[in-house]
Amino acid sequence: MAAKFNFKRIRSLVAIALLLLFMVWGESNLPRYYIKILHFWGIYAVLGVTLQLIYGYTGQFSLAHAALVAIGAYTTGLLTLSPETKALSFLLAPPIWPINVIEWPLLPALLLSGFLAALVGIVVGAPALRLRGDYLAIVTLGVSEIIRLLFCNLPSVCNGAMGLKGIPMRATLWGTWLVVVVTLFVVRRLVDSNYGRALKAIREDEIAAEALGVNLFYHKLLAFVVSAFFVGVAGGLMAQILGTIDPSTFGQVLSYAALTIVILGGVRSLTGTVIAAGVYTISSELLRAVEAPITVFGLDLPGVPGMRVIFFGVLLLMLILFYRKGLFGEHELSWGALQSWVRSLRSSRERV
């Protein structure tokens, strides 16, 4: 039993190593466009997996992801920009201390992004998580918008609506995917532990959970804060990949993207979420076509930015109405599942 367990563990470690090696290889051999898609796949995977923790496992419907990504992105952006660049690009008001002098390497900047997002998670979560269901969604949506507007209106902190330009793009593909692996690891372990059972119990029946001694507030906040940390890190990576960010980068679309990915992947399937993040990222690239200007029967139609979002809105609606299980349901993509899948393929071929 123990030997088999170790064998499984080694197999998973090898798979992770191969994944990261592929990313290292891709960094120097794939076209830049593909590299960017892989980066965004990773970032959306983190957003999806963290929303699974809050929504899939704990049953709390939060729409705060966009704001938390913004916190992370701005933190990393401001920390990694050189003081000179900041002095040049802050046209509305000079940057305040300590923003005007600070310059950090990427790793500590990402960590601080995570911690700040987690802190915001505590500040927002502490009052909001006392609400249930739709009310929590409304409050987190509102807070998300407030935070975005704060970024718009604080010129001396984050250059207001002009945003940040020239952020050094130091994120590497393997680094982004290492963040995905770490997020998956932490969420998986947490969900399988006594804490995770309590989260699932809260989702199933808050009253029964409380009667068994579960501190509802503490556990909801725990899920929220752990998520917020990784969302912040993902936000930091996003700043590094885009190079240019402004408040409109972090519209509500991001929160809905995370939600679409969770439902598409299958609520409570973490591997399904990672796959769904890929489907979302790639299809959102393919759908750029619908935003381009087109000519139909001699009629010139101008390109409408945002058409893709409508498509995803319809997709989300369809999923909820007709395909609530998503791609994976509650199942995980595991070695056992792969084996039985291969076996079923083989047996069906033999039958033919």
Partner: protein, 255 residues
Amino acid sequence: MSLLDVKDLSMRFGGLLAVSGFELKMEAGDLVGLIGPNGSGKSTVFNMLSGFYKPTTGSILFDGNDITGLRPDQIAARGIMRIFQNGRLFSNMTALENVLMGHHMRLRTSSPFAAVFHTPGYVRNEQGAIEECETMLQDLDLGNMKHERVGELPFGTQRKIEVARTLAARPKLLLLDEPMTGLSAEEMSDMIDYIIWVREKFNMTILLVEHTMAVIMSICPRIAVLDHGVKIVEGTPSEVQNDARVIEAYLGVEE
């Protein structure tokens, strides 16, 4: 000193006085039945004892501490566990996971970090909890069903798992809110045997609310009767059965 000492407990919802001046003393190892017609306030008493309602007046002393007005999880942490009238299992979780939830408070000694990094202490606790909960399911002859979703198990089995779940927390006082509701005759006698077994094995103190009069009369040495939020009688089954006020409460007075 009594294990449970309830003094002058009242609960008012707006203009309705649901329970008034309720008093109850229980010693360790007692089995007390609480009966009364529908709407007499039994569930309100249970909800106050387990912290879901904050009493308007009165005090609840448990194990020498005042627990009046604490949150449900704080009261659970002090050793009062309850089951609910219509059953509140986590139906999408397995039987084992449900019973492990009873173990929740005892596992809280490990931090979330310990849980993520699988520290030796955490692994030991978790392993111990799983073994203990598996034994509890085996005591119920449910060992082979431990990985089944409880929502798919027969109702009688579900009710027993709910009791087992509370036992995993090693409570000092067990509040059973109508554990026989919806059970077949066979399941009912099974449940009675189980309650008696639990009481003997763990020397458990139990407060039992039940509608099935035969059950209450046969297993409870002491019975309290509620009517319109007031405790009208407390005594042995035969005292209660022959009390004019009880008969009046249940059957009404002859015109």
